[in-house]
Subunit: 240 residues, 2 copies
DNA sequence: CCCATGTTTCGATGGCGGCCGAAGCATTCC
DNA sequence: GGAATGCTTCGGCCGCCATCGAAACATGGG
C-alpha cells in the first residue's frame, strides 16, 4: 500500500541470488521453462517454482503454458531496463574502490564478451563496435542519456532494410532524427545501442543470419557472412 | 565476485523497507544527517547507522562529515535513476491487476502531488505541466526514451538564462538539438523532464525564487512570482 | 575538562525467508 | 489406462539479517 513498501517488494525480489540468476538468464529476451531456470540457478524445481510464482505475482516475469511446459519471460522492457540499471550501478566506477572493481568483473566467457544479446538488442564487443562505427561515420549521434539517427544514418538503415522513419513515427517524432537509447555495457563499460533502433538492428542481424543463437547462453556466434556484412555495411572492425 | 552476486547485493540493499525509506528521503538530492534518516525510517540511530554503513560500502550513498554530523546523500545520478526505475516497474500498469493499482498509489500529500523535486529536477503536476507546455509549443520533442530541444526551445531557454547550447556542448552535441531524459512520474504517471535540462530548469526555478523548499519534505511551494513566471515564460496552466 | 549531542560498534534476540523432501496435480506419450 | 515428465503445494529445518540495548567513540560547547 505505501509507496516505499511496494518499492522494497520489487527490489527485494531482485535482491536474492537465485532469483537474480534466473532473471539474468531471461535477459536475452527468450522464454525459458521452469526447469531450465531451476538448472540455471542450481536449485531444485520446487524452489524455482516458488520464486517464479512470486516474481509472476509481482509482474516481473510472465508465463505462458505450452503443453506440460511453462515458459517464463521478462514481463516488460521496463523490467529489462531495470536489471540493466542495477548492473550499471553495481559496476559503476568509484574513485575509492577502483582497485577492487577493475579485475574480472565482466563476463568470464570469451564468447559472452565478444557478442551477446541484452534483452532485445546486441551487447558485448559487437554491440559496442557497431555503435562506435555508426557514431564515427556520423550515422548516429549519442549523448549520455539519448541519441538520434542522422539523415545519412536513416539512409543507411533504409538500404539494409530498416524503415527507420516509419519505425520512429509512432513515437511522435517529426523531424527525422530519433529514438535510440544508450545502454551501458558492463563488460565493455561502453555505451551501445538499445531502444527501438537497437532492437531493430538485432532482429535484422538474426534475420539475415549475421548472428546465430547458441543454446543455453546469451552469447551469440557471428557467422562469416555476418563478419563480412558488418564490415561492408557498418565498417565495423572486430579483429584488431 | 560473480556478476549475479554483485547484482543481487545492490538489489538486496534496495529491497528492505528501512533502507528503501532512507533512499527515498534522499531522492530530493539534498544531504541528510544519519539521525534525520533514522527518524525518517522510524528506527533507532544504531540501526540506521548499520544500514548507512552498508549502503556507503556499496556506493549507493556517500557521506561527508561536518562537525559531529555526518551528511549522507545519493552517491550518483545513476542511483537516483535506478530508484526511479524500480518505482516505474513497481507501478507499471498490468492488464490483469489494474483494479488493485489504480487506487491511492500516488503520494498522499496534496503538496507532494502538486510540486516536488525528484533528485535534481521537478516532478509532480508542476513538472508534468512544464513539460507538456514545452512540448505543446514545440520547444521540446519527447519520445518514450529520449527527447531534444528545438531551435525555438533553445531560444526560449536563452531568454530565461539557460545557456542550452553551451550546456549540451560537453556531451558531444553538434546540431543544437538535445539531451533531456523523460522520467516517468509515479503520481501523475506522465513523463516529465529529467536529465541535464530538467536539472538546469529546477536550479533556475530555485534561483529565481519561483519555487521554495519546504522543510522535511520533497514537496516544494510555488511562489506567486513563480505562478506568474511559469505562465509567462512557459504558458503553464496549473489551475484548471 | 566535563558534559551534551551525534554516531558507531558489539552482542543478543527474534523473525522472515530460502531451501529441500515428500506428495499431489496436470499433461503427454505409449 | 498407466507410466513418465514437468510443475506446484505443503511442511519443517536452518541460516541470515534487521532490530535494539548497552556501551564506546568523536566532536563541540561551556
Amino acid at each position: 500500500m505505501p509507496n516505499d513498501a511496494k518499492f522494497a517488494e520489487i527490489a527485494a525480489l531482485l535482491g536474492e541470488t537465485t532469483r537474480a540468476t534466473m532473471l539474468h538468464a531471461l535477459m536475452d529476451g527468450r522464454a525459458l521453462t521452469a526447469s531450465e531456470l531451476a538448472r540455471a540457478a542450481r536449485v531444485t524445481p520446487q524452489t524455482a517454482s516458488n520464486h517464479l510464482a512470486r516474481m509472476t505475482a509481482a509482474n516481473l516475469v510472465c508465463v505462458s503454458q505450452q503443453g506440460r511446459h511453462r515458459y517464463y519471460r521478462l514481463a516488460s522492457p521496463a523490467v529489462a531496463r531495470l536489471i540493466e540499471n542495477v548492473m550499471q550501478v553495481a559496476f559503476e566506477r568509484h574513485p575509492a574502490s577502483i582497485s577492487f572493481n577493475t579485475i574480472a568483473t565482466g563476463p568470464r566467457d570469451a564468447a559472452m564478451r565478444l557478442a551477446r544479446t541484452c534483452y532485445d538488442h546486441l551487447a558485448g564487443r559487437l554491440g559496442v563496435a557497431i555503435t562506435d562505427a555508426l557514431v564515427e561515420h556520423h550515422h548516429l549521434e549519442l549523448t549520455a542519456d539519448a541519441g538520434w539517427v542522422t539523415d545519412s544514418g536513416a539512409q543507411l538503415l533504409q538500404q539494409i532494410g530498416i524503415d527507420w522513419p516509419n519505425l520512429s513515427a509512432d513515437r511522435r517524432n517529426q523531424s527525422g532524427r530519433v529514438l535510440c537509447r544508450p545502454c551501458l555495457d558492463w563488460s565493455e563499460r561502453r555505451a551501445h545501442l538499445a531502444g527501438a533502433l537497437g532492437s531493430a538492428l538485432c532482429e535484422l542481424a538474426f534475420q539475415k543470419d549475421w548472428i546465430r543463437r547458441r543454446t543455453d547462453t546469451r552469447a551469440v556466434m557471428i557467422t562469416p557472412k555476418g563478419r563480412r556484412d558488418f564490415r561492408a555495411w557498418f565498417k565495423v572492425r572486430l579483429d584488431d
